[in-house]
């Protein structure tokens, strides 16, 4: 069995921003990136976030491969396929989030807000499936209601904050 050390991969990412005038006189922004896999010391430079994700994926795939050398080829195939499946989801969302954050830090707040709203939806669905609120002990129900109320209030506060910042931007 792999030790925790063999199951861990850390990455250090550095972005360097370059703002310059393009040939047409318009301002251009370039993000130069550097990513390092801490445990092996290997490095890669990138301009697109996808390249950094490919670097991470390649190192994680190696980690998975090393951890399953003692499995049968059939088992290896299944584990690798699951590992790549999870990664596929990450690579679909992460570049958009990172690039949005780099372009507009407010996007990050909007993203968090979306996540909270998603969670409220999924928690409601999940709890709905497992518990019949009307018949569940009052204390537990009340606590969950409080959590829901709080999450909804955080979400509303974030929405209000976004709207204020939008107004500020417009008034500039």
């Amino acid at each position: 069995m792999a030790t925790r050390k063999e199951e861990t991969a850390s990455f250090m990412i550095r972005f360097t921003q370059k703002i310059f005038d393009g040939d047409d006189g318009a301002h251009e922004v370039q993000w130069r990136g550097n990513i390092r896999h801490v445990q092996s010391g290997t490095e890669s430079k990138f301009l697109e976030v996808e390249e950094a994700l490919n670097f991470i994926q390649s190192n994680l795939a190696d980690l998975t491969k090393n951890a399953i050398v003692d499995k049968t080829p059939e088992e290896q195939k299944g584990i690798l396929s699951k590992s790549f499946g999870i990664w596929k989801k990450v690579t679909a969302e992460a570049p958009k989030l990172v690039m949005d954050t780099l372009r507009d830090p407010m996007k990050q707040a909007e993203y968090v807000q979306e996540q909270i709203q998603d969670r409220i939806g999924s928690v409601k669905d999940e709890i709905g499936k497992k518990l019949d609120f009307d018949n569940v002990l009052g204390v537990l129900g009340r606590d969950n209601d409080k959590v829901m109320e709080r999450l909804e209030s955080i979400s509303k506060e974030l929405a209000a904050l976004n709207s204020k910042i939008d107004q500020l931007k417009k008034s500039k």
Partner: protein, 270 residues
């Protein structure tokens, strides 16, 4: 200048007055009351690791034993981790205070309840001095260039290699290494800019040092080109531009920035 020079001196004097001075850049070393001990004197590597981890985490108020184990020896299970901590803690105390009487509390690795931290009044770390000098250089960059030059120069004398070279592949040391490397890289560039007009050859050397840290640092190529241009060495301006162009193409698939091309064009026009 006298008073600020004395400010630089007082920063540097901390090396001599410290009970323990720790060199983290390049070969790791610890000087206790003027006597340098090397890594071997920590006995087990775990003892050295613990001390190096506490140095890296020195700005934190204190760390629980479990937090320390989880960061350094995360591959060990609970019991083995605790045993390793116990042995490492004993070994580190023994290396730092070989003559501590039995029963007396350690003076440098302090245990406060369940929290552990270093006694920073007695311990001076090279990167803290380097950082103080760079801060002084930055503060004087526009208002007093002589002081800034002196402060940066003294700061960069501490650059004897990367942070904790024996822990290059350890997760917990990476953040500090990256932070320090960028501070040093920027200091080379700032000092190079200040030296450009009066000592172009020195500016070239400093830019080359920056490129040893990151060979895609375009400002360093630009600084070299400007220095060669001032020296009237047009072939070297072109050669440096070509090197910059090649590395940016290889690593990022991009061209140098317009301001870099501008220096090349200036050299052609002369």
């Amino acid at each position: 200048m006298g008073s600020i020079s004395s400010e630089i001196q007082s920063i540097l004097a901390q090396i001599d007055t410290a009970q323990i001075y720790v060199q983290t850049l390049g070969n790791f070393g610890v000087t206790i009351d003027g006597l340098r001990i090397d890594a071997k004197q920590f006995g087990r590597d775990a003892s050295l690791q613990l001390f190096q981890f506490l140095i890296t985490s020195r700005k934190r108020q204190g760390l629980h034993k479990e937090q320390i184990i989880d960061r350094i020896w995360y591959d060990l299970d609970g019991k083995a981790g605790l045993q390793n901590f116990k042995v490492a803690h004993h070994g580190a105390n023994k290396a730092l205070e070989p003559n501590r009487p039995k029963g007396q509390e350690p003076s440098y690795i302090i245990r406060n309840g369940s929290l552990y931290h270093l006694e920073l009044e007695s311990i001076v770390v090279d990167i803290d001095l380097l950082e103080s000098l760079i801060v002084l250089g930055n503060q004087n960059f526009h208002k007093n260039q002589n002081i800034a030059i002196e402060a940066y120069t003294k700061a960069l004398e501490f650059d004897r290699g990367v942070y904790m070279t024996n822990r290059l592949y350890e997760d917990w040391s990476s953040e500090e290494r990256e932070r320090i490397q960028l501070i040093i890289l920027n200091a080379y560039m700032s000092l190079g800019e200040l030296q450009l007009q009066t000592l172009p050859a020195e500016a070239i050397r400093l830019a080359q040092r920056a490129l040893q840290i990151d060979n895609t640092w375009e400002e360093a190529y630009r600084l070299q080109m400007k220095a060669y241009l001032l020296n009237g060495n047009r072939p070297m301006v072109i050669k440096t531009y070509n090197a910059c162009e090649a590395i940016l193409e290889t690593e990022f698939g991009i061209d140098p920035l317009p301001e870099t091309r501008k220096i090349l064009e200036e050299s052609k026009a002369k």
